[in-house]
Symmetry: C2
């Protein structure tokens, strides 16, 4: 394990009943063409609202599985521009029971605040007006990285993600994401929202000063524009999914200097952009 | 076909190259363990930003596949409380090329506007503060419907959704949603965002005065809290997914009087809530 990286095994098996436990039992009725056939208890993925406060002001309520809230908050605020560097983080307090995270940050929040006000939610889970602001700023500074990865390394790391995901097959309700070097998976996170899982990984590394420019991010979620924008903001150079990409995500990966790989399954993958990093 | 319901066949096959066409060709490189094996053209799902203006003011930018923008806009504004009834819709103009929809509505927008300001985006694609406001209001008036559906009818309609979805298997990039009566599928919509597909169906019915209280909504997307809140707002009594539900979605369905069905595949399904509507 790399310095500062949480042990994977510990992360995969949270204490049943603990606040970190991601699933709850639900009594459901099962039907087939003959009608009601059984009443049984099924594991259902936990969803809970968690509210983020920045310098005493309510900023946002995230709907998430409710675990690793320190990483989730730090990653979200870093990607949104409320946190620029670790030294700007004065205090971060998680109240697991009430589902709130209070964060105190130094430095000038006026720009992040103004952009936040301009931001509009979208039912496509994308950014609103901010989308364009970020884009202009981002396109001026594409992601820089000398990372090179072989096709075999990509496929081996994807297989590791699949093995880790096994633990969560019983709920089918999560997106799984890992951070990896070409040679090993470093960190696994899952959540009901694919953005939350990415925020946790970004936050984990932000809190420990772990660089992202020499790492791969591998996810089970689809590759859409808002994910690419988030990853460009934090300098992630190499993004892999078992799933597909959209036209806009491919355009952004091209412009932002991000290697974009999709359909990584069954020993094959397609590269949409940044093929120069694939050996 | 019911009165006012668009012909399914026509909807499934938009003119290639037309603004309604949902996929674009992308040149990708395919790799396996031996390295680069092929350069080929693949169909990728279209993603584009579409900006909504209400009474001349920019409200939100949606990231979507870019089709049926009139339905998308009307459904979004209806579910968000900017439109209460059809007579309040004065004008709706779609500019397919620039990707914008201008909507003029009568009536007092102050409440919807205030709640909109309070709203916060979440990386889990959920609602922010508004989440709670809506909830308080919603819980006071659960969905009313005398709809009864047999298990066979549920499974037959799900099979129809699966057949309609075949058309989009080549991109893997969309969520599919249908509106149905117990006896037939009425309307099919797909989009990169599961919320967009639902908004289109809600908007289609809003624009034509088609009631929802006697219909089923069947989707390929996961059943999360924000979807349940949206469907409760528009009075949808019966919701089916091929996928799973979250703990919070089940709680909401219970409180809001919505029949919630998941894992509808392989001739079986589980009912999480509202089993009294299943015969």
């Amino acid at each position: 394990m790399h310095d500062g990286i949480i042990d994977l095994k510990k992360d995969q098996t949270p204490e049943p009943g603990s606040a970190l436990h991601r699933v709850s039992p639900a009594v459901v009725k099962r039907y087939d063409r003959t009608g009601l056939v059984a009443e049984k208890t099924e594991w259902v993925i936990t969803e809970r609202p968690v509210t983020l406060y920045v310098n005493g002001r309510e900023l946002v309520t995230l709907l998430c599985a409710g675990h690793h809230l320190d990483e989730l908050a730090a990653g979200f605020l870093y990607a949104e521009g409320f946190l620029g560097a670790l030294h700007e983080l004065e205090r971060l307090e998680v109240d697991q029971e009430s589902g709130s995270v209070e964060v105190w940050v130094s430095g000038d929040l006026s720009l992040a605040g103004r952009m936040w006000e301009k931001r509009a939610v979208t039912s496509g889970c994308g950014k609103g007006s901010l989308f364009y602001y970020s884009l202009d700023a981002l396109l001026s500074k594409p992601v820089e990285s000398s990372l090179k990865v072989t096709a075999v390394q990509v496929l081996d790391r994807v297989e590791e993600l699949n093995r880790l995901s096994e633990t969560y097959r019983r709920t089918h309700g999560v997106h799984n994401t890992v951070l990896a070097t070409p040679d090993e998976v470093l960190l696994f996170r899952d959540d009901i929202g694919r953005h939350n899982a990415v925020d946790m990984i970004v936050g984990h590394c932000f809190l420990r000063g772990i660089p992202l420019a020499d790492k791969l991010l591998i996810t089970t979620g689809r590759l859409t524009s808002e994910l690419l924008i988030k990853l460009a903001k934090v300098g992630m150079p190499f993004v892999v999914s078992r799933n597909t990409a959209t036209t806009l995500a491919i355009k952004l990966a091209d412009s932002l200097g991000i290697t974009l790989i999709g359909y990584a399954r069954g020993g094959r993958f397609v590269a949409y952009a940044g093929q120069d990093r694939i050996l």
